[in-house]
C-alpha cells in the first residue's frame, strides 16, 4: 500500500545555519531528530563552493548524510541567468550552468533536482539528454505567484507534456493552496510601516477573491500588476505597493490540480508560514491535501519548507526549530488521512 514519507528542506533552517546555531552536520541531525525520513538540500545555501565544491566538501556532506540515515530526496538548484549586470545569459549559457548543477547534485548523492520557477523550457529541454545520460530528473517548482497560469510555467509544462520523459516532472509547492493570506506576512509588513488600511484591504481582497494573485497579477512572479483603484487610493508609500504585490505570492488553487498533474508530480514542498499551537497551519489545510494525496496513491515525499523565518521582525528570534518540529508532527498525525 502506498505510503507518503516526510522530509525536511534545509531551507527551513537557513537562519540557524546563517547565524551559526547549527552547522551542516547539526542541520542534518536536527532533521533526523524531528522524525523525517528524508532531507532536501539547497546546494547553493550550505555546500561551500557550489557548483564546484572541493572533494573534501562533498565528502563532508556525504559522510554527514550517511551518518544521519536520511534519504537525499531533492536538491534545489538555480540558474544564475542574471550573473552579469549588462545582459541576461543566452540559452546556450544557461544550459551549461544547468548541466553544472546536475553534475554537482549527482556528486552530492541526489537523483532529483528542483528547478526554480521561471526556468526556461528551452534551457531544460536542451539539458535533458545530459540529465538522462547521468540519471538525473529535473522537476520544475510550481510556486504560488508563478504557478500553472504563469507564462513561463505553462510553456514549461507544455514542453514536459510533449517530451514525455521519465527525467522531467514537477514539484508542487503547497503555497498554491493558501486558503488564507499568511498573517505573519501582514504582521511583518505592519511592523515596518505598511499603512494599516492597506494591510486590511489586502487581507479583505484576498478573502473576497480567493487570493490576490488572480485579482492583481500576471502569474509570472513579476511584471505588470494592476491594483484596483480602491486599493491604490489607500497607498501612502512604496512599501504599501510592495506589500500588495508581495501578497500575490500566495494562491488559493483548487486541489483538483493534484488529480490533473499527478502523473508528473515528483515531489512536494510542504510550504508553511505559521504552525499554530493546535498543530494546524494558519493558511494551508494540510489534512485536506493529505487526504487527496492518499486518494491518489502518492507514495513520495513531502518536505517541510518553513518560510515564516523571513517574516520575523528584525532582531527578534526566529523559532525555526519549533516550527519545523510542529510541522513534522502535523504531517505525522495526518499522513494516513483518508486511507
Amino acid at each position: 500500500m502506498s505510503q507518503i514519507k516526510t522530509s525536511v528542506s534545509m531551507y527551513s533552517l537557513q537562519d540557524s545555519y546563517a547565524r551559526h546555531r547549527l552547522d551542516l552536520e547539526g542541520v542534518l541531525q536536527f532533521v533526523k531528530d524531528v522524525g523525517a525520513q528524508g532531507v532536501e538540500l539547497i546546494s547553493d545555501q550550505m555546500i561551500t563552493g557550489t557548483p564546484f565544491p572541493s572533494d573534501a566538501t562533498v565528502t563532508r556532506w556525504r559522510d554527514a548524510l550517511d551518518r544521519s540515515g536520511l534519504a537525499p530526496v531533492c536538491n534545489d538548484i538555480f540558474i544564475n541567468s542574471t550573473i552579469y549586470k549588462n545582459r541576461e545569459l543566452r540559452v546556450a549559457e544557461q544550459v551549461d550552468l544547468l548541466k553544472r548543477e546536475l553534475d554537482v547534485s549527482k556528486r552530492l548523492g541526489f537523483d532529483l533536482v528542483r528547478l526554480v520557477s521561471n526556468t526556461r523550457a528551452d534551457v531544460t529541454e536542451a539539458a535533458l539528454p545530459y540529465a538522462e545520460q547521468i540519471g538525473m530528473a529535473m522537476a520544475l517548482e510550481i510556486h504560488a505567484g508563478m504557478s500553472f497560469q504563469g507564462g513561463l510555467t505553462s510553456e514549461w509544462i507544455r514542453m514536459m507534456r510533449r517530451v514525455q520523459s521519465e527525467n522531467l516532472g514537477i514539484v508542487v509547492d503547497f503555497g498554491i493552496f493558501c486558503d488564507r493570506h499568511p498573517r505573519v506576512s501582514t504582521d511583518y509588513f505592519r511592523s515596518i510601516g505598511v499603512t494599516p488600511e492597506v494591510a486590511d484591504a489586502v487581507e479583505r481582497i484576498y478573502v473576497e477573491n480567493g487570493d490576490t494573485m488572480r485579482a492583481f497579477a500576471s502569474g509570472d512572479g513579476f511584471g505588470d500588476v494592476s491594483f484596483p483603484p480602491e486599493l491604490t487610493a489607500l497607498f501612502r508609500s512604496d512599501l504599501d505597493a510592495e506589500f500588495a504585490f508581495f501578497s500575490t505570492g500566495y494562491e488559493s488553487t483548487p486541489l483538483d490540480v493534484l488529480d490533473e498533474y499527478f502523473p508528473y508530480i515528483r515531489h512536494f514542498h510542504g510550504k508553511f508560514y505559521e504552525m499554530l499551537e493546535d498543530g494546524t497551519e494558519y493558511s494551508i489545510d494540510y489534512p485536506a491535501i493529505l487526504t487527496r494525496l492518499n486518494a491518489l496513491g502518492y507514495d513520495g515525499y513531502i518536505s517541510s519548507e518553513y518560510e515564516g523565518n523571513r517574516f520575523t521582525p528584525v532582531d527578534q528570534p526566529i523559532h525555526d526549530h519549533e516550527q519545523v518540529r510542529r510541522h513534522q508532527a502535523m504531517l505525522a498525525a495526518h499522513l494516513n488521512d483518508g486511507k
Binding site: 546563517a18 547553493d44 545555501q45 552579469y84 521561471n118 523571513r310
Partner: protein
C-alpha cells in the same frame, strides 16, 4: 524581509594597515537564502553621518583578501559570496572615521535568478569607533 542580515552588529571599524588607518569597514550577511557569485551584488551604498560615500571609494571582498571595486565586481563571477559568510565592505578613506559615535547606514542590492528587479535590504546603526 532580509534587513536583519544587513550590517553585522559590532563589525564597524577603522582599517589599520602597516600602522596607518586606511579606511573604514563594515560586514554584512547576504539578503537572500543562498550564496551567489560576487557579480550578482548589484549595488552597495554606505552612508556615514548623513554623507553618501562616493561609489568608487567602496571596495568589497568575500574573503578579506581580494578586494574589488563595485565596477570591477560586475565581472567577478569566480569569487562566491557564501550564504552565512560575511561580505566585507570597505571605504578607502585615509584616516578612516574619527574616534567617537557615528550613524552608519548600509544598503545592499543583489540580483537573483530570473528576477529582473534587484532586491536587498538596509540597516542603520549607531557605531562607536
Amino acid at each position: 524581509m532580509f534587513d536583519g542580515y544587513v550590517f553585522t552588529d559590532g563589525s564597524a571599524r577603522n582599517v589599520v594597515e602597516n600602522g596607518e588607518v586606511t579606511g573604514f569597514q563594515v560586514e554584512t550577511l547576504i539578503t537572500y537564502y543562498r550564496g551567489i557569485p560576487l557579480s550578482m551584488v548589484h549595488d552597495i551604498e554606505l552612508v556615514v553621518d548623513g554623507a553618501d560615500v562616493p561609489r568608487d571609494e567602496l571596495v568589497i571582498s568575500p574573503d578579506g583578501e581580494d578586494w574589488f571595486t563595485l565596477a570591477e565586481a560586475e565581472t567577478v563571477t569566480t569569487y562566491r559570496w557564501e550564504y552565512g559568510d560575511p561580505l566585507y565592505v570597505r571605504w578607502l578613506h585615509a584616516g578612516g572615521v574619527p574616534a567617537g559615535e557615528h550613524e552608519v547606514t548600509l544598503r545592499l542590492k543583489i540580483r537573483v535568478a530570473y528576477i529582473p528587479v534587484p532586491f536587498g535590504g538596509e540597516r542603520t546603526r549607531l557605531v562607536a569607533v
